[in-house]
Point group: C3
Chain length 198, copies 3
Protein backbone atom coordinates (compact mmCIF):
# COMPACT_ATOMS: atom_id res chain seq x y z
CA UNK A 1 0.00 0.00 0.00
CA UNK A 2 2.78 2.38 1.00
CA UNK A 3 4.80 1.42 -2.08
CA UNK A 4 1.74 1.85 -4.31
CA UNK A 5 1.16 5.32 -2.94
CA UNK A 6 4.79 6.29 -3.63
CA UNK A 7 4.33 5.15 -7.23
CA UNK A 8 1.12 7.17 -7.47
CA UNK A 9 2.85 10.24 -6.05
CA UNK A 10 5.77 9.84 -8.46
CA UNK A 11 3.51 9.50 -11.50
CA UNK A 12 1.46 12.56 -10.48
CA UNK A 13 4.69 14.52 -10.21
CA UNK A 14 5.94 13.27 -13.57
CA UNK A 15 2.67 14.12 -15.33
CA UNK A 16 2.75 17.59 -13.76
CA UNK A 17 6.24 18.23 -15.15
CA UNK A 18 5.05 17.34 -18.66
CA UNK A 19 2.09 19.71 -18.19
CA UNK A 20 4.27 22.50 -16.80
CA UNK A 21 6.65 21.91 -19.71
CA UNK A 22 4.17 23.75 -21.92
CA UNK A 23 5.04 26.86 -19.93
CA UNK A 24 8.43 28.50 -19.63
CA UNK A 25 9.02 27.34 -16.04
CA UNK A 26 12.46 26.64 -14.66
CA UNK A 27 13.31 23.37 -12.84
CA UNK A 28 12.62 24.68 -9.35
CA UNK A 29 9.34 26.21 -10.44
CA UNK A 30 8.46 22.80 -11.85
CA UNK A 31 9.26 21.11 -8.57
CA UNK A 32 6.75 23.40 -6.87
CA UNK A 33 4.11 22.55 -9.50
CA UNK A 34 4.91 18.83 -9.23
CA UNK A 35 4.68 18.92 -5.44
CA UNK A 36 1.33 20.69 -5.56
CA UNK A 37 0.04 18.09 -8.00
CA UNK A 38 1.33 15.10 -6.09
CA UNK A 39 0.76 16.17 -2.48
CA UNK A 40 -1.77 19.01 -2.80
CA UNK A 41 -5.00 17.01 -2.72
CA UNK A 42 -4.02 15.14 0.43
CA UNK A 43 -2.76 18.36 2.04
CA UNK A 44 -6.09 20.13 1.49
CA UNK A 45 -7.92 17.08 2.87
CA UNK A 46 -5.73 16.99 5.99
CA UNK A 47 -6.08 20.74 6.61
CA UNK A 48 -9.88 20.56 6.19
CA UNK A 49 -10.09 17.58 8.55
CA UNK A 50 -7.74 19.20 11.06
CA UNK A 51 -5.27 16.29 10.88
CA UNK A 52 -1.48 16.67 10.71
CA UNK A 53 -0.54 16.96 7.02
CA UNK A 54 0.61 13.52 5.89
CA UNK A 55 3.94 14.38 4.27
CA UNK A 56 5.26 16.86 6.84
CA UNK A 57 6.76 14.26 9.14
CA UNK A 58 7.53 11.60 6.53
CA UNK A 59 10.25 12.84 4.16
CA UNK A 60 9.70 9.96 1.71
CA UNK A 61 6.71 11.56 -0.03
CA UNK A 62 8.45 14.85 -0.76
CA UNK A 63 11.68 13.06 -1.67
CA UNK A 64 9.85 10.80 -4.16
CA UNK A 65 8.11 13.81 -5.67
CA UNK A 66 11.32 15.77 -6.18
CA UNK A 67 13.27 12.82 -7.61
CA UNK A 68 10.41 11.95 -9.99
CA UNK A 69 10.09 15.58 -11.10
CA UNK A 70 13.81 16.00 -11.77
CA UNK A 71 14.05 12.65 -13.54
CA UNK A 72 11.12 13.54 -15.81
CA UNK A 73 12.61 16.95 -16.45
CA UNK A 74 15.92 15.37 -17.43
CA UNK A 75 14.37 12.66 -19.63
CA UNK A 76 12.07 15.14 -21.34
CA UNK A 77 15.06 17.22 -22.39
CA UNK A 78 16.58 14.15 -24.03
CA UNK A 79 13.52 12.66 -25.68
CA UNK A 80 9.88 13.47 -26.26
CA UNK A 81 7.93 11.62 -23.55
CA UNK A 82 4.39 10.71 -24.58
CA UNK A 83 1.83 12.04 -22.09
CA UNK A 84 -0.01 8.72 -22.50
CA UNK A 85 2.78 7.04 -20.54
CA UNK A 86 1.23 8.36 -17.35
CA UNK A 87 -2.41 7.51 -17.95
CA UNK A 88 -2.14 4.14 -16.23
CA UNK A 89 -0.28 5.25 -13.07
CA UNK A 90 -2.49 8.34 -13.01
CA UNK A 91 -5.66 6.22 -12.95
CA UNK A 92 -4.08 4.11 -10.22
CA UNK A 93 -3.28 7.27 -8.27
CA UNK A 94 -6.86 8.50 -8.58
CA UNK A 95 -8.13 5.17 -7.22
CA UNK A 96 -5.65 5.03 -4.37
CA UNK A 97 -5.96 8.69 -3.32
CA UNK A 98 -9.76 8.54 -3.38
CA UNK A 99 -9.94 5.46 -1.19
CA UNK A 100 -7.34 6.64 1.33
CA UNK A 101 -8.95 10.11 1.47
CA UNK A 102 -12.39 8.65 2.12
CA UNK A 103 -11.05 6.33 4.78
CA UNK A 104 -9.17 9.17 6.54
CA UNK A 105 -12.41 11.14 6.82
CA UNK A 106 -14.44 8.12 8.01
CA UNK A 107 -11.87 7.46 10.74
CA UNK A 108 -12.49 11.01 11.98
CA UNK A 109 -16.25 10.37 12.15
CA UNK A 110 -17.15 12.66 9.27
CA UNK A 111 -20.69 12.09 7.88
CA UNK A 112 -20.73 9.84 4.78
CA UNK A 113 -21.41 12.66 2.33
CA UNK A 114 -18.46 14.63 3.71
CA UNK A 115 -16.25 11.53 3.69
CA UNK A 116 -17.03 10.83 0.03
CA UNK A 117 -16.27 14.47 -0.82
CA UNK A 118 -12.94 14.21 1.01
CA UNK A 119 -12.13 11.24 -1.21
CA UNK A 120 -12.79 13.38 -4.27
CA UNK A 121 -10.74 16.25 -2.83
CA UNK A 122 -7.80 13.91 -2.25
CA UNK A 123 -8.14 12.36 -5.70
CA UNK A 124 -8.68 15.39 -7.91
CA UNK A 125 -7.48 18.55 -6.13
CA UNK A 126 -3.83 17.84 -6.89
CA UNK A 127 -4.58 17.97 -10.60
CA UNK A 128 -6.70 21.08 -10.10
CA UNK A 129 -3.86 22.87 -8.28
CA UNK A 130 -1.44 21.84 -11.04
CA UNK A 131 -3.66 23.38 -13.71
CA UNK A 132 -4.27 26.52 -11.63
CA UNK A 133 -0.51 26.99 -11.21
CA UNK A 134 -0.15 26.63 -14.98
CA UNK A 135 -2.99 29.13 -15.52
CA UNK A 136 -5.11 26.56 -17.38
CA UNK A 137 -8.71 25.42 -16.95
CA UNK A 138 -8.63 22.32 -14.73
CA UNK A 139 -8.76 19.37 -17.11
CA UNK A 140 -10.17 17.08 -14.41
CA UNK A 141 -13.44 19.03 -14.47
CA UNK A 142 -13.88 18.42 -18.18
CA UNK A 143 -12.45 15.06 -18.86
CA UNK A 144 -13.92 11.68 -19.19
CA UNK A 145 -15.37 10.54 -15.88
CA UNK A 146 -12.54 11.80 -13.70
CA UNK A 147 -14.28 13.40 -10.69
CA UNK A 148 -17.24 11.15 -11.43
CA UNK A 149 -15.26 7.91 -11.14
CA UNK A 150 -13.69 9.25 -7.95
CA UNK A 151 -17.02 10.09 -6.36
CA UNK A 152 -18.64 6.83 -7.40
CA UNK A 153 -15.75 4.84 -5.98
CA UNK A 154 -15.85 6.75 -2.71
CA UNK A 155 -19.55 5.96 -2.33
CA UNK A 156 -18.94 2.26 -3.13
CA UNK A 157 -16.22 2.19 -0.48
CA UNK A 158 -18.51 3.76 2.13
CA UNK A 159 -21.32 1.37 1.22
CA UNK A 160 -19.08 -1.67 1.61
CA UNK A 161 -17.76 -0.38 4.96
CA UNK A 162 -21.38 0.08 6.05
CA UNK A 163 -21.96 -3.60 5.24
CA UNK A 164 -19.09 -4.32 7.65
CA UNK A 165 -16.67 -5.55 5.03
CA UNK A 166 -13.00 -5.50 6.10
CA UNK A 167 -11.44 -2.11 5.13
CA UNK A 168 -8.74 -3.77 3.02
CA UNK A 169 -11.22 -5.66 0.88
CA UNK A 170 -13.56 -2.68 0.54
CA UNK A 171 -10.61 -0.54 -0.55
CA UNK A 172 -9.56 -3.14 -3.10
CA UNK A 173 -13.04 -3.38 -4.65
CA UNK A 174 -13.72 0.39 -4.67
CA UNK A 175 -10.23 1.19 -5.94
CA UNK A 176 -10.46 -1.36 -8.75
CA UNK A 177 -13.85 0.06 -9.71
CA UNK A 178 -12.40 3.59 -10.02
CA UNK A 179 -9.41 2.27 -11.95
CA UNK A 180 -11.55 0.31 -14.42
CA UNK A 181 -14.17 3.03 -14.92
CA UNK A 182 -11.45 5.57 -15.59
CA UNK A 183 -9.60 3.32 -18.06
CA UNK A 184 -12.84 2.44 -19.83
CA UNK A 185 -13.72 6.15 -20.04
CA UNK A 186 -10.35 6.93 -21.62
CA UNK A 187 -10.53 3.95 -23.99
CA UNK A 188 -14.02 4.68 -25.31
CA UNK A 189 -14.02 8.40 -24.57
CA UNK A 190 -17.09 8.25 -22.33
CA UNK A 191 -18.25 11.40 -20.54
CA UNK A 192 -21.29 12.78 -18.81
CA UNK A 193 -23.45 15.28 -20.68
CA UNK A 194 -22.03 18.77 -20.31
CA UNK A 195 -23.95 21.92 -19.83
CA UNK A 196 -22.41 24.63 -21.93
CA UNK A 197 -24.04 28.00 -22.11
CA UNK A 198 -23.13 30.77 -24.51
CA UNK B 1 -30.07 32.10 11.07
CA UNK B 2 -29.22 28.50 10.26
CA UNK B 3 -31.93 28.41 7.59
CA UNK B 4 -30.72 31.72 6.14
CA UNK B 5 -27.19 30.39 5.87
CA UNK B 6 -28.42 27.27 4.03
CA UNK B 7 -30.22 29.56 1.55
CA UNK B 8 -27.05 31.61 1.13
CA UNK B 9 -24.97 28.47 0.56
CA UNK B 10 -27.50 27.17 -1.97
CA UNK B 11 -27.56 30.42 -3.93
CA UNK B 12 -23.75 30.61 -4.00
CA UNK B 13 -23.68 27.08 -5.38
CA UNK B 14 -26.34 27.87 -7.99
CA UNK B 15 -24.55 31.01 -9.16
CA UNK B 16 -21.30 29.04 -9.42
CA UNK B 17 -22.93 26.44 -11.68
CA UNK B 18 -24.12 29.21 -14.02
CA UNK B 19 -20.59 30.64 -14.05
CA UNK B 20 -18.99 27.23 -14.61
CA UNK B 21 -21.52 26.64 -17.38
CA UNK B 22 -19.47 28.95 -19.57
CA UNK B 23 -16.76 26.29 -19.47
CA UNK B 24 -17.04 22.71 -20.69
CA UNK B 25 -17.18 21.19 -17.21
CA UNK B 26 -19.07 17.99 -16.47
CA UNK B 27 -21.59 17.72 -13.58
CA UNK B 28 -19.13 16.40 -11.04
CA UNK B 29 -16.59 19.04 -11.94
CA UNK B 30 -19.33 21.60 -11.41
CA UNK B 31 -20.12 20.19 -7.99
CA UNK B 32 -16.49 20.78 -7.01
CA UNK B 33 -16.66 24.38 -8.31
CA UNK B 34 -20.00 24.95 -6.55
CA UNK B 35 -18.67 23.55 -3.29
CA UNK B 36 -15.59 25.77 -3.45
CA UNK B 37 -17.80 28.81 -4.07
CA UNK B 38 -20.30 28.03 -1.34
CA UNK B 39 -18.05 26.62 1.40
CA UNK B 40 -14.57 27.86 0.39
CA UNK B 41 -14.58 31.25 2.11
CA UNK B 42 -15.63 29.80 5.46
CA UNK B 43 -13.15 26.94 5.08
CA UNK B 44 -10.21 29.30 4.55
CA UNK B 45 -11.35 31.38 7.56
CA UNK B 46 -11.58 28.31 9.78
CA UNK B 47 -8.18 26.99 8.66
CA UNK B 48 -6.55 30.40 9.23
CA UNK B 49 -8.15 30.69 12.68
CA UNK B 50 -7.24 27.10 13.58
CA UNK B 51 -10.90 26.17 14.22
CA UNK B 52 -12.52 22.93 13.04
CA UNK B 53 -13.88 23.55 9.52
CA UNK B 54 -17.60 24.28 9.87
CA UNK B 55 -19.04 21.83 7.32
CA UNK B 56 -16.89 18.80 8.10
CA UNK B 57 -19.05 17.55 10.95
CA UNK B 58 -22.40 18.93 9.75
CA UNK B 59 -23.45 17.18 6.55
CA UNK B 60 -26.27 19.67 5.87
CA UNK B 61 -24.01 22.30 4.29
CA UNK B 62 -22.42 19.96 1.79
CA UNK B 63 -25.77 18.28 1.11
CA UNK B 64 -27.44 21.63 0.40
CA UNK B 65 -24.59 22.61 -1.90
CA UNK B 66 -24.75 19.42 -3.94
CA UNK B 67 -28.55 19.44 -4.25
CA UNK B 68 -28.54 23.12 -5.28
CA UNK B 69 -25.77 22.52 -7.82
CA UNK B 70 -27.48 19.52 -9.40
CA UNK B 71 -30.87 21.27 -9.46
CA UNK B 72 -29.37 24.32 -11.18
CA UNK B 73 -27.54 22.10 -13.61
CA UNK B 74 -30.77 20.29 -14.46
CA UNK B 75 -32.85 23.47 -14.77
CA UNK B 76 -30.19 25.21 -16.87
CA UNK B 77 -30.32 22.37 -19.39
CA UNK B 78 -34.07 22.87 -19.73
CA UNK B 79 -34.25 26.64 -19.81
CA UNK B 80 -31.96 29.65 -19.86
CA UNK B 81 -31.69 30.85 -16.26
CA UNK B 82 -30.97 34.58 -15.95
CA UNK B 83 -27.86 35.22 -13.84
CA UNK B 84 -29.76 38.13 -12.27
CA UNK B 85 -31.93 35.61 -10.45
CA UNK B 86 -29.13 35.14 -7.95
CA UNK B 87 -28.18 38.75 -7.24
CA UNK B 88 -30.53 39.02 -4.28
CA UNK B 89 -29.61 35.79 -2.48
CA UNK B 90 -25.96 36.47 -3.35
CA UNK B 91 -26.09 39.89 -1.62
CA UNK B 92 -27.77 38.19 1.33
CA UNK B 93 -25.03 35.60 1.38
CA UNK B 94 -22.33 38.27 1.36
CA UNK B 95 -23.99 40.00 4.34
CA UNK B 96 -24.48 36.79 6.29
CA UNK B 97 -21.04 35.30 5.61
CA UNK B 98 -19.27 38.56 6.45
CA UNK B 99 -21.02 38.94 9.80
CA UNK B 100 -20.61 35.29 10.84
CA UNK B 101 -16.96 35.33 9.74
CA UNK B 102 -16.22 38.49 11.73
CA UNK B 103 -17.96 37.09 14.78
CA UNK B 104 -16.08 33.79 14.58
CA UNK B 105 -12.77 35.68 14.65
CA UNK B 106 -13.86 37.97 17.51
CA UNK B 107 -14.84 34.95 19.59
CA UNK B 108 -11.27 33.67 19.16
CA UNK B 109 -9.87 36.99 20.44
CA UNK B 110 -8.42 38.10 17.12
CA UNK B 111 -7.56 41.84 16.97
CA UNK B 112 -10.29 43.95 15.34
CA UNK B 113 -8.42 44.51 12.10
CA UNK B 114 -7.84 40.76 11.73
CA UNK B 115 -11.48 40.04 12.63
CA UNK B 116 -12.77 42.43 9.98
CA UNK B 117 -10.45 40.84 7.41
CA UNK B 118 -11.76 37.38 8.36
CA UNK B 119 -15.25 38.69 7.63
CA UNK B 120 -14.10 39.74 4.15
CA UNK B 121 -12.36 36.38 3.62
CA UNK B 122 -15.55 34.52 4.55
CA UNK B 123 -17.68 36.79 2.37
CA UNK B 124 -15.62 37.04 -0.81
CA UNK B 125 -13.11 34.16 -0.99
CA UNK B 126 -15.75 31.67 -2.14
CA UNK B 127 -16.39 33.77 -5.24
CA UNK B 128 -12.65 34.22 -5.75
CA UNK B 129 -12.05 30.45 -5.63
CA UNK B 130 -14.93 29.91 -8.08
CA UNK B 131 -13.38 32.32 -10.58
CA UNK B 132 -9.90 30.84 -10.10
CA UNK B 133 -11.26 27.34 -10.78
CA UNK B 134 -12.87 28.71 -13.95
CA UNK B 135 -9.59 30.41 -14.93
CA UNK B 136 -11.18 33.89 -14.89
CA UNK B 137 -10.17 37.13 -13.20
CA UNK B 138 -12.06 37.28 -9.89
CA UNK B 139 -15.11 39.42 -10.56
CA UNK B 140 -15.45 40.34 -6.87
CA UNK B 141 -12.25 42.39 -7.10
CA UNK B 142 -13.66 44.50 -9.90
CA UNK B 143 -17.31 44.80 -9.27
CA UNK B 144 -19.40 47.41 -7.68
CA UNK B 145 -18.60 47.67 -3.98
CA UNK B 146 -18.33 43.95 -3.32
CA UNK B 147 -15.28 43.58 -1.07
CA UNK B 148 -15.85 47.18 -0.01
CA UNK B 149 -19.38 46.58 1.28
CA UNK B 150 -18.13 43.48 3.05
CA UNK B 151 -15.30 45.31 4.80
CA UNK B 152 -17.46 48.28 5.75
CA UNK B 153 -20.09 46.00 7.24
CA UNK B 154 -17.50 44.03 9.21
CA UNK B 155 -16.19 47.30 10.72
CA UNK B 156 -19.73 48.45 11.58
CA UNK B 157 -20.35 45.10 13.30
CA UNK B 158 -17.14 45.38 15.33
CA UNK B 159 -17.95 48.99 16.28
CA UNK B 160 -21.42 48.04 17.51
CA UNK B 161 -20.03 45.11 19.49
CA UNK B 162 -17.51 47.52 21.03
CA UNK B 163 -20.47 49.68 22.14
CA UNK B 164 -21.75 46.55 23.92
CA UNK B 165 -24.74 46.04 21.69
CA UNK B 166 -26.19 42.51 21.78
CA UNK B 167 -24.51 40.36 19.04
CA UNK B 168 -27.87 39.56 17.40
CA UNK B 169 -28.80 43.22 16.95
CA UNK B 170 -25.33 44.23 15.82
CA UNK B 171 -25.37 41.41 13.25
CA UNK B 172 -28.80 42.52 12.00
CA UNK B 173 -27.71 46.16 11.55
CA UNK B 174 -24.33 45.38 9.95
CA UNK B 175 -25.79 42.67 7.73
CA UNK B 176 -28.60 44.95 6.52
CA UNK B 177 -26.04 47.67 5.78
CA UNK B 178 -23.99 45.30 3.60
CA UNK B 179 -27.12 44.05 1.86
CA UNK B 180 -28.41 47.58 1.11
CA UNK B 181 -25.03 48.99 0.00
CA UNK B 182 -24.54 46.06 -2.33
CA UNK B 183 -28.02 46.34 -3.85
CA UNK B 184 -27.64 50.12 -4.25
CA UNK B 185 -24.25 49.59 -5.91
CA UNK B 186 -25.76 47.13 -8.37
CA UNK B 187 -28.81 49.32 -9.04
CA UNK B 188 -26.88 52.54 -9.69
CA UNK B 189 -23.63 50.88 -10.78
CA UNK B 190 -21.55 52.60 -8.10
CA UNK B 191 -17.89 51.72 -7.74
CA UNK B 192 -14.71 53.04 -6.18
CA UNK B 193 -12.18 54.74 -8.43
CA UNK B 194 -9.94 52.15 -10.06
CA UNK B 195 -6.28 52.42 -10.64
CA UNK B 196 -5.46 51.03 -14.03
CA UNK B 197 -1.94 51.26 -15.31
CA UNK B 198 -0.76 50.52 -18.82
CA UNK C 1 14.40 41.08 12.67
CA UNK C 2 10.80 42.02 13.40
CA UNK C 3 11.28 45.43 11.75
CA UNK C 4 12.94 43.80 8.73
CA UNK C 5 10.00 41.45 8.32
CA UNK C 6 7.53 44.37 8.44
CA UNK C 7 9.54 46.05 5.64
CA UNK C 8 9.50 42.83 3.64
CA UNK C 9 5.74 42.47 4.14
CA UNK C 10 5.17 46.10 3.12
CA UNK C 11 7.25 45.78 -0.04
CA UNK C 12 5.48 42.55 -1.05
CA UNK C 13 2.16 44.33 -0.62
CA UNK C 14 3.34 47.35 -2.62
CA UNK C 15 4.66 45.19 -5.48
CA UNK C 16 1.35 43.29 -5.53
CA UNK C 17 -0.62 46.53 -5.92
CA UNK C 18 1.51 47.49 -8.93
CA UNK C 19 0.90 44.03 -10.40
CA UNK C 20 -2.84 44.16 -9.69
CA UNK C 21 -2.90 47.63 -11.23
CA UNK C 22 -2.70 45.98 -14.63
CA UNK C 23 -6.18 44.62 -13.94
CA UNK C 24 -9.32 46.65 -13.31
CA UNK C 25 -9.44 45.90 -9.57
CA UNK C 26 -10.90 48.32 -7.03
CA UNK C 27 -8.97 49.33 -3.87
CA UNK C 28 -10.50 46.70 -1.62
CA UNK C 29 -9.92 44.00 -4.18
CA UNK C 30 -6.30 45.16 -4.29
CA UNK C 31 -6.01 44.91 -0.52
CA UNK C 32 -7.05 41.26 -0.76
CA UNK C 33 -4.44 40.63 -3.49
CA UNK C 34 -1.77 42.50 -1.49
CA UNK C 35 -2.58 40.54 1.67
CA UNK C 36 -2.38 37.24 -0.19
CA UNK C 37 1.00 38.25 -1.62
CA UNK C 38 2.46 39.50 1.66
CA UNK C 39 1.01 37.00 4.14
CA UNK C 40 -0.04 34.06 1.93
CA UNK C 41 3.24 32.14 1.86
CA UNK C 42 3.61 32.17 5.63
CA UNK C 43 -0.07 31.28 6.07
CA UNK C 44 0.23 28.19 3.87
CA UNK C 45 3.39 27.17 5.76
CA UNK C 46 1.68 27.54 9.14
CA UNK C 47 -1.41 25.63 8.02
CA UNK C 48 0.72 22.81 6.60
CA UNK C 49 2.80 22.63 9.78
CA UNK C 50 -0.30 22.80 12.00
CA UNK C 51 0.95 25.94 13.78
CA UNK C 52 -1.23 28.96 14.62
CA UNK C 53 -1.11 31.31 11.61
CA UNK C 54 1.44 34.01 12.41
CA UNK C 55 -0.60 37.13 11.65
CA UNK C 56 -3.90 36.11 13.25
CA UNK C 57 -2.98 37.22 16.76
CA UNK C 58 -0.55 40.01 15.83
CA UNK C 59 -2.40 42.85 14.12
CA UNK C 60 0.83 44.57 13.01
CA UNK C 61 1.36 42.37 9.95
CA UNK C 62 -2.10 42.92 8.52
CA UNK C 63 -1.99 46.61 9.44
CA UNK C 64 1.35 47.08 7.68
CA UNK C 65 0.04 45.29 4.60
CA UNK C 66 -3.09 47.41 4.35
CA UNK C 67 -1.27 50.71 4.92
CA UNK C 68 1.40 49.81 2.36
CA UNK C 69 -1.22 48.74 -0.18
CA UNK C 70 -3.29 51.90 0.21
CA UNK C 71 -0.19 54.14 0.13
CA UNK C 72 1.03 52.49 -3.08
CA UNK C 73 -2.45 52.76 -4.57
CA UNK C 74 -2.54 56.46 -3.74
CA UNK C 75 1.00 57.19 -5.00
CA UNK C 76 0.44 55.21 -8.18
CA UNK C 77 -2.56 57.39 -9.03
CA UNK C 78 -0.35 60.48 -8.69
CA UNK C 79 2.77 59.30 -10.46
CA UNK C 80 4.03 56.32 -12.40
CA UNK C 81 5.96 54.15 -9.92
CA UNK C 82 8.69 52.07 -11.51
CA UNK C 83 8.31 48.36 -10.68
CA UNK C 84 12.08 48.26 -10.25
CA UNK C 85 11.68 50.24 -7.04
CA UNK C 86 10.63 47.04 -5.31
CA UNK C 87 13.29 44.66 -6.59
CA UNK C 88 15.60 45.30 -3.65
CA UNK C 89 13.04 44.97 -0.82
CA UNK C 90 11.53 42.03 -2.69
CA UNK C 91 14.88 40.19 -2.75
CA UNK C 92 15.25 40.99 0.94
CA UNK C 93 11.77 39.60 1.58
CA UNK C 94 12.60 36.40 -0.28
CA UNK C 95 15.72 35.95 1.85
CA UNK C 96 13.96 36.71 5.12
CA UNK C 97 10.82 34.66 4.44
CA UNK C 98 12.85 31.65 3.29
CA UNK C 99 15.03 31.62 6.38
CA UNK C 100 12.19 32.15 8.88
CA UNK C 101 10.08 29.51 7.09
CA UNK C 102 12.86 26.95 7.19
CA UNK C 103 13.53 27.66 10.84
CA UNK C 104 9.83 27.36 11.77
CA UNK C 105 9.74 23.88 10.22
CA UNK C 106 13.02 22.80 11.86
CA UNK C 107 11.68 23.86 15.26
CA UNK C 108 8.74 21.49 14.69
CA UNK C 109 11.12 18.59 13.95
CA UNK C 110 10.29 18.34 10.26
CA UNK C 111 12.84 16.32 8.23
CA UNK C 112 15.42 18.52 6.45
CA UNK C 113 13.97 18.09 3.00
CA UNK C 114 10.53 19.11 4.27
CA UNK C 115 12.02 22.04 6.19
CA UNK C 116 13.81 23.36 3.10
CA UNK C 117 10.58 23.04 1.11
CA UNK C 118 8.72 24.99 3.80
CA UNK C 119 11.29 27.75 3.34
CA UNK C 120 10.52 27.83 -0.37
CA UNK C 121 6.76 27.81 0.32
CA UNK C 122 7.13 30.77 2.68
CA UNK C 123 9.36 32.63 0.24
CA UNK C 124 7.59 32.12 -3.07
CA UNK C 125 3.95 31.12 -2.46
CA UNK C 126 2.89 34.70 -1.73
CA UNK C 127 3.98 35.75 -5.21
CA UNK C 128 2.33 32.67 -6.68
CA UNK C 129 -0.99 33.48 -4.99
CA UNK C 130 -0.74 37.07 -6.21
CA UNK C 131 -0.32 35.94 -9.81
CA UNK C 132 -3.10 33.37 -9.49
CA UNK C 133 -5.47 36.05 -8.18
CA UNK C 134 -4.51 38.21 -11.17
CA UNK C 135 -5.06 35.24 -13.52
CA UNK C 136 -1.44 35.30 -14.72
CA UNK C 137 1.20 32.60 -14.98
CA UNK C 138 3.27 32.76 -11.77
CA UNK C 139 6.33 34.82 -12.65
CA UNK C 140 8.35 33.26 -9.82
CA UNK C 141 8.34 29.93 -11.68
CA UNK C 142 9.92 31.50 -14.74
CA UNK C 143 12.16 34.16 -13.52
CA UNK C 144 15.79 34.36 -12.89
CA UNK C 145 16.74 32.07 -10.00
CA UNK C 146 13.80 32.92 -7.79
CA UNK C 147 12.63 29.57 -6.37
CA UNK C 148 16.17 28.31 -6.98
CA UNK C 149 17.84 30.96 -4.81
CA UNK C 150 15.23 30.30 -2.13
CA UNK C 151 15.84 26.54 -2.11
CA UNK C 152 19.59 26.90 -2.18
CA UNK C 153 19.52 29.33 0.74
CA UNK C 154 17.24 27.05 2.75
CA UNK C 155 19.69 24.16 2.26
CA UNK C 156 22.65 26.36 3.26
CA UNK C 157 20.77 27.38 6.41
CA UNK C 158 20.01 23.76 7.32
CA UNK C 159 23.61 22.76 6.65
CA UNK C 160 24.97 25.51 8.90
CA UNK C 161 22.50 24.58 11.66
CA UNK C 162 23.65 20.96 11.33
CA UNK C 163 27.21 22.22 11.94
CA UNK C 164 25.87 23.70 15.21
CA UNK C 165 26.26 27.31 14.17
CA UNK C 166 24.15 29.77 16.19
CA UNK C 167 20.75 30.24 14.46
CA UNK C 168 21.25 34.01 14.14
CA UNK C 169 24.56 33.67 12.29
CA UNK C 170 23.32 30.86 10.09
CA UNK C 171 20.28 32.96 9.18
CA UNK C 172 22.48 35.94 8.34
CA UNK C 173 24.77 33.91 6.06
CA UNK C 174 21.97 31.99 4.30
CA UNK C 175 19.84 35.11 3.95
CA UNK C 176 22.71 37.13 2.48
CA UNK C 177 23.41 34.30 0.04
CA UNK C 178 19.81 34.34 -1.21
CA UNK C 179 19.84 38.15 -1.44
CA UNK C 180 23.09 38.24 -3.42
CA UNK C 181 22.24 35.35 -5.76
CA UNK C 182 18.90 36.95 -6.53
CA UNK C 183 20.41 40.39 -7.20
CA UNK C 184 23.16 38.89 -9.34
CA UNK C 185 20.55 36.91 -11.28
CA UNK C 186 18.55 40.09 -11.95
CA UNK C 187 21.66 42.11 -12.85
CA UNK C 188 23.09 39.60 -15.34
CA UNK C 189 19.78 37.91 -16.20
CA UNK C 190 20.96 34.45 -15.15
CA UNK C 191 18.51 31.56 -15.23
CA UNK C 192 18.48 27.78 -15.23
CA UNK C 193 17.89 25.98 -18.52
CA UNK C 194 14.19 25.70 -19.20
CA UNK C 195 12.41 22.75 -20.66
CA UNK C 196 9.82 23.99 -23.07
CA UNK C 197 7.84 21.52 -25.12
CA UNK C 198 5.67 22.40 -28.08
Amino acid sequence: MYLLSQIAVASCAAAAVLEAGKKRYDPFGMIVVATSAALGGGSIRDMLLGRPVFWVHDATYLGTTIVAALATFGLARLAKLPAKLFLLPDAMGLALFTVTGTRAALVMDAPWIVASFMGVVTGVMGGVLRDMLCNEEPVVFQSTLYATASWGGALVFIGLMQLEMAPGNAALIAGSAIFCVRLAAIRWNIGLPQFYSK
